[in-house]
Symmetry: C2
Subunit: 483 residues, 2 copies
């Protein structure tokens, strides 16, 4: 006991001594300017988007609140769909439904020429429910139910990609039973080594064997090749390596099996430049020494335009050199399309001081913003913008667990209860990973560049959280015990 105390005192003393040093050297970079997200200071007040006062918006629609920037979303869709200079055509874009399955967001993208990439029976249903034509739907994923396969085949979707060879016979059986043909591809894995959770490895010949098997099924039109890089694509080198691997495999596919690819599906994996996985070192420094998380090198990251241009050009050159027709190029962006077009407004419930730290308790925690624990997502002081960032806060959510720490250390202006903050880049993997843990989930609104605000989804009410439960009949026993 004495030893443990002594160790703790020593550890704590060393930390206290090192803290002022490690907290500030090397000097942490300045956070991004709010103008990067189109936010501007309202004279005499906080930040606004397209002339809409964000604190007022939250008072109207409730806190927390997801805000989708229609202008940014429109721009991102345009950037993905633009035909690169010198190319014969651009890429086709199929938005990864799982990244942000809000019907208002999906419909907005569909109206601008974006198709649907779905990975479950529910997502396939949703795409069709939203009016997406079958030839604008790609169906992927490791867990396709028989029912959903019948739907997909019967409606004749654009492309069904096998996640693993074992799917091939099952799909063939269903297609035969329906008397329908189906356009298929195989998701291949270009990675070497261990990880083969998704896709069929090229190395060792498994991918080629899967194509051989697929070609032997009469019900299939084997037209597609599907791959994801897996890890994020940060720069041109990573993109080139990935596309090169896929093109090399397409060559052997042609040479060995005579497959003419009509659809080359190069998946997603492009990130949001202002978001980055937090390294273990950064996290530890932040927790132990109250140092801010490093700002990602956004300017060095591959932008949407360069990504599409480089990829399309590379495929076209490859085909030109071999005097082949260029396949249709399919992309399945998630993060890169919607990530930076949405943010989560949240309120300060209270600030507290304890053990030499200052805590800000906010009303959005791991229930809504789990990603902010593992990734850099800038925290913007909306109502206090412009005031000096004089205080370092540990920002925690409303949930009673030590895991509900979103920002171990972040410099912000001095906060008061009721202040508005924004967790930026909340447009991918925030909504689908959100839970109703102790607190109902928030509303989603869309703000357009003319200042129009459109509700997309209302906030959960208390009753919604038990809507699927058997009616609560207050028990006679409880009533007897009641006051």
């Amino acid at each position: 006991m004495l030893t443990r105390s002594l160790k703790q005192v020593l550890k704590s003393g060393i930390k206290d001594a090192l803290r002022p040093v490690l907290q500030r050297y090397p000097t942490p970079q300045e956070p991004f300017d709010p103008s990067r997200w189109g936010l501007a200071q309202r004279p005499g007040a906080g930040l606004e988007l397209h002339g809409v006062d964000l604190s007022a918006l939250m008072r109207e629609w409730g806190s927390p609140l997801h805000v989708v920037d229609a202008a940014r979303l429109r721009a991102n869709a345009r950037r993905f769909l633009a035909v690169p200079r010198g190319a014969s055509a651009g890429a086709e874009v199929y938005y990864s439904y799982k990244s942000n399955p809000i019907p208002g967001v999906l419909t907005f993208l569909h109206e601008r020429g974006v198709g649907a990439e779905v990975i479950s029976e529910y997502e396939l249903w949703l795409a069709r429910h939203l009016g997406v034509p079958a030839e604008r739907v790609v169906y992927n994923g490791p867990a396709k139910s028989d029912h959903s396969l019948r739907e997909a085949i019967d409606s004749s979707i654009l492309l069904l990609n096998f996640n693993h060879s074992e799917e091939i016979d099952r799909v063939a059986g269903i297609a035969r039973a329906l008397g329908r043909r189906v356009r298929v591809g195989v998701r291949v894995s270009t990675g070497r080594g261990w990880s083969a959770q998704f896709g069929v490895p090229i190395e060792g010949g498994a991918a080629l064997a899967a194509y051989t098997r697929a070609l032997s099924c009469e019900a299939f039109d084997v037209v597609g090749l599907h791959a994801h890089r897996g890890g994020m694509i940060h720069d041109a080198n990573e993109l080139d390596g990935f596309v090169g691997d896929v093109l090399a495999f397409s060559d052997s596919l042609r040479a060995s099996l005579g497959v003419e690819l009509a659809l080359l599906d190069l998946g997603g994996s492009l990130g949001t430049p202002t978001v980055e996985h937090i390294s273990t070192a950064d996290r530890r420094l932040s927790q132990a020494f109250y140092r801010e998380i490093s700002v990602p090198p956004a300017e060095q990251r591959l932008q949407i335009e360069s990504y599409v241009e480089r990829l399309v050009t590379r495929v076209e050159e490859h085909c030109r050199e071999r005097q082949r027709a260029r396949p249709r190029i399919l992309l399945e962006p998630g993060r890169a399309m919607t990530g930076d077009a949405q943010f989560l407004l949240t309120s300060v419930i209270e600030t507290k001081r304890a053990d030499g730290k200052t805590y800000a308790i906010i009303d959005a925690g791991i229930n809504l913003a789990e990603s902010a624990r593992n990734e850099y997502h800038q925290l913007l002081p909306i109502s206090r913008h412009g005031a000096p960032r004089a205080e370092t806060y540990t920002v925690v959510g409303p949930i009673c667990t030590p895991g509900d720490t979103l920002y171990p250390a972040v410099r912000l202006p001095e906060l008061r209860p009721g202040d508005t903050l924004a967790i930026m880049d909340a447009g991918a993997y925030f909504v689908p990973f959100s839970t109703s843990f102790s607190f109902p989930r928030p509303a989603v609104v869309m703000v357009d560049d003319d200042g129009q605000v459109r509700p997309l989804r209302r906030a959960e009410r208390h009753e919604d959280l038990i809507a699927l439960d058997e009616p609560a009949r207050p028990s006679p026993k409880l009533r007897r015990a009641g006051s």
Copy 2:
């Protein structure tokens, strides 16, 4: 590139050589017998609970499926509420709503004499909606809304515990405005060192200062003292240390401020014996060498009866020695009450072989069973029980992300698509942390010891997932483009 390949080949070679050794030595313990959870083999078939064939149950109610064992839940409630031998009274039990907020489970507990511990406006509403009398409600948590405070004070709940000193003035203001008195306590933190996210630290005098402040507010009846150990209570020593710290503080509270505690709230922190946090070493060994996660030492863990007996006896002795009245003892169990009284049935969608591994893809992943990644939760082969555990599987969920690996390596009988598995001890933090990520959430049924099956919550339907969205009007643009 060559160097990288060479390094990978070497690494992979070393792993391949070490794998057969590290996979089996030291011999991993045998998993728990299904009888521990009251499961028995059905002659010529899989496992059953109280005579109910679990595979058939899943066919009837859908897969995945949460199954609550009413008999186990009843027994756990009884064990918590039993008056220990020699004690003048037992503990009062307030179930931690956040652990498993299914109305059918909560009502079942309330009918058996268990009260409600709530940490949010929603949970306070739910307790009242379910007919829990106000004097059976304890309100905790770092994020109490003004509205919920008015409700709590107006209905005169048993106890409102301050999470931090900064709450005191706000609550006092609301009580004054309502012209009502409120029974309050302070959540104190007994831990030394850094973590002070919850509660007011005893060390340094902050807790005493908070009581001084609370005593100065006329609207308060300062009757309570609240503490959680924080980390899990595994054994008697950990419990004794914690209770001792709290009792020592109660003495100084009496000595310095004359506070007579009527309610001693000793929180939760007791675990489920068959569940344990997975160590980093264990996780790494499992991922790299395909070795099973260690089975927790369940028999060495403090059981509910011993926990209650030890804690009540300790408090009674402390008071007797000082010739004081014994306060009412409040407990707030979550995991220990419901954890082992529920399991999650799931189906095998497909098995696949890749890179020398065998994968089982199941229809419950991190969307429903996130906890199984960080904690030992035994995976039982329901439909194949009794067959030799001949194969080591990597068990993955249905979601398209490498993070959706629930079991890096687990020995099971040979599986086929459609087989039923059960993730055990799913009665705490599974339901509240579950998401609708790409797949609707499952139904919850309760099975009693007479074999009666009662639905508690129906499965989400596709329409439910967009019920709060603005009606989807398939856009004319989309229709024009449609086929």
